[in-house]
């Protein structure tokens, strides 16, 4: 056997071998930078704040306005940069919230078992049969506008997937030898669950989180597109696309660029997610 390499370096080596994963990571890092500093690097920060310049409305893409201007004369490039924050951070928040709730439910169900397991899993299965987008739309509309409410609404239909995954993993680990060993030396149930079982299933949860991230961004944009969730003037890609639909085909640039931004973000997440899965879970080879 070769000399042991530190775990993370070996994983990085595995990750680096996949070109799509590295491309995904690169795009994701750029997008993350834009999400954090987009408002600072935008060429027309005033437009993000909502300033209107009707004299320059519907200008096609040029050196002055890379992505052209919209119906209010605002710079589309600046708005797309600013939109990255809502889309990416809400997508991340949905996945984090969904995984927290799902892990809690799944861990309780798998660890306690019996009637508790039965009830929790039946509810989880039923939630999975409901149409997630319509459910999210209904909850978001009832909670009222706002980014926080939108995140909660999407998470309502997001946790069951994690609950199923975590329950399965907990069941598989519950009788494992290292868990038996921990019990044998007198560890209580909470300690067994928190210190021995959960850390061992975190990589599976992380893989699902990264694979779900693209879909979460897509869902956020979808809610914006149907007019539920983030309300203008908060810049959001889906909402921008919905407004500019009305200006097709003549002023196509107002719609194309926010749409491409969504595609790029989702693509990056999918590539990255696949790479992370191969890295953290080498057994799941393609």
């Amino acid at each position: 056997m070769a000399a042991p390499v530190p775990g993370w370096r070996r994983m990085w080596g595995r990750f680096r071998r996949s070109t799509p994963a590295v491309i995904g990571l690169a795009i994701a890092l750029v997008l993350l930078f834009v999400a954090l500093f987009g408002r600072v690097i935008a060429p027309y920060p005033g437009d993000i704040a909502g300033s209107v310049a009707t004299a320059v409305r519907f200008r096609p893409p040029s050196m002055v306005h890379w992505f052209g201007t919209n119906e209010l004369g605002q710079d589309v490039f600046s708005l797309v940069l600013a939109g990255a924050r809502v889309s990416l951070l809400s997508g991340l928040a949905v996945v984090v919230l969904g995984s927290l709730v799902g892990t809690l439910v799944g861990a309780i169900a798998g660890f306690i078992g019996g009637l508790v397991d039965e009830v929790l899993m039946r509810v989880t299965d039923l939630m999975l049969t409901l149409p997630s987008l319509i459910l999210a739309m209904a909850v978001a509309a009832a909670l009222g506008p706002g980014i926080g409410n939108m995140i909660i609404a999407i998470s309502v239909s997001w946790w069951p997937g994690f609950a199923r995954l975590v329950r399965g993993e907990v069941l598989a680990r519950r009788e494992a030898q290292f868990v038996e060993a921990a019990r044998a030396v007198g560890a209580g149930p909470m300690r067994v669950l928190l210190a021995h079982i959960l850390p061992n299933i975190m990589s599976a949860v992380m893989v699902k989180m990264s694979l779900d991230m693209g879909f979460a961004i897509l869902t956020v944009a979808s809610l914006g597109f149907v007019g539920i969730g983030v309300s203008p003037p908060t810049p959001e890609w889906g909402a921008q696309l919905a407004v500019s639909r009305g200006f097709l085909p003549d002023d196509w640039w107002t719609a194309i660029f926010p749409g491409l931004a969504i595609v790029l973000a989702v693509l990056a997440c999918n590539l990255l997610g696949d790479g992370l899965r191969d890295m953290l879970d080498p057994r799941a080879q393609r």
């Binding site: 039923l126 987008l133 209904a138 909670l143 539920i228 889906g238 696309l241 989702v266 999918n270």
Partner: protein
Amino acid sequence: MLRFTLRRLVLLVPVLLGLSLIVFGIARLLPGDPVTLAAGPQATRAEIASLSHELGMDRPLPEQYFTYLRGLVVGDWGQSILTRRPVWQDLRVYLPATLELVVAPMGLAIVIGIPAGLLAAVGRDRWPDHLTRSVSLGAISVPRFFLGLLFQLVFAMWLGWLPLGGRFPIIEDPPSFVTGFLVIDSLIARDGTALLLSLQHLALPAITMCLSPLATIMRMMRASTLEVLQQDYVKTARALGLKPGLILFKYVLKNALSSSLTVIGLYVGWLLGGTVLVETVFDWPGIGLYATKAILTQDFMPVMGVTLAIGVIFVLSNLVTDLLYGWINPMARVE
């Protein structure tokens, strides 16, 4: 097989009950008072109370649930507070439109996806494989509503080949309502013009909807074909000198299909909940658009009706998949 079928049917009852309970629970847990909204901003407290009484909203929750449940069974799915039309009647009109947007894309995805996945597996790591993988990645990364807009822009606005949206031209008479599926109703009425018009309207939304199941079916088919190709009986057939085409179609295809079948069944329900966006883009009068309008006006009964209808169809399509799977693979019948 009969016992297997019966057991599955009996298991359906608690699932459907649970579904109705969950939908009812979510609707009641949400903030926002539908009665106040329906009564309008000028309503007095007495008017709100009388409307609330009329709608049965002042009863205790369990009683409300049982009233709701009894209604569901006899076809009374409540009524829209705003239009006062029964939800069941609306669903009867809008559901076929949405099912068209599920069945047509699913058909396209199966017809294209199964041969493409087979081809990708046979040509592993060569161009057919790379092509199908790129299409798959693209299909899951491009939002359906953006794809629909692009199709509209290119095929309807620039090229003018296909209509921009809607299900049927307003100025024409649609075929008389029999099933609610325009394509089928046109066939029943033997109306060639109506058939052509409805197919033209269906084309763009159907292609938009088909890409994501296409990607999944291709990937599943590729994976299961690769697995079957490794099996001993395929090796034996090869060793015996059978023609590759014969091996592929007679031995590989049939066995690889059964796992793709499961995905197809699961996908039907998923597609059904995902038509909302495509319906919005193409102004397609289905349950998605119906639900969106109801959600925006906080009209609860239609939203509950749509959610429940999709849930029930999802459960039923899983049942059919289960039964088909048990029929193909006898081992699945044993529990």
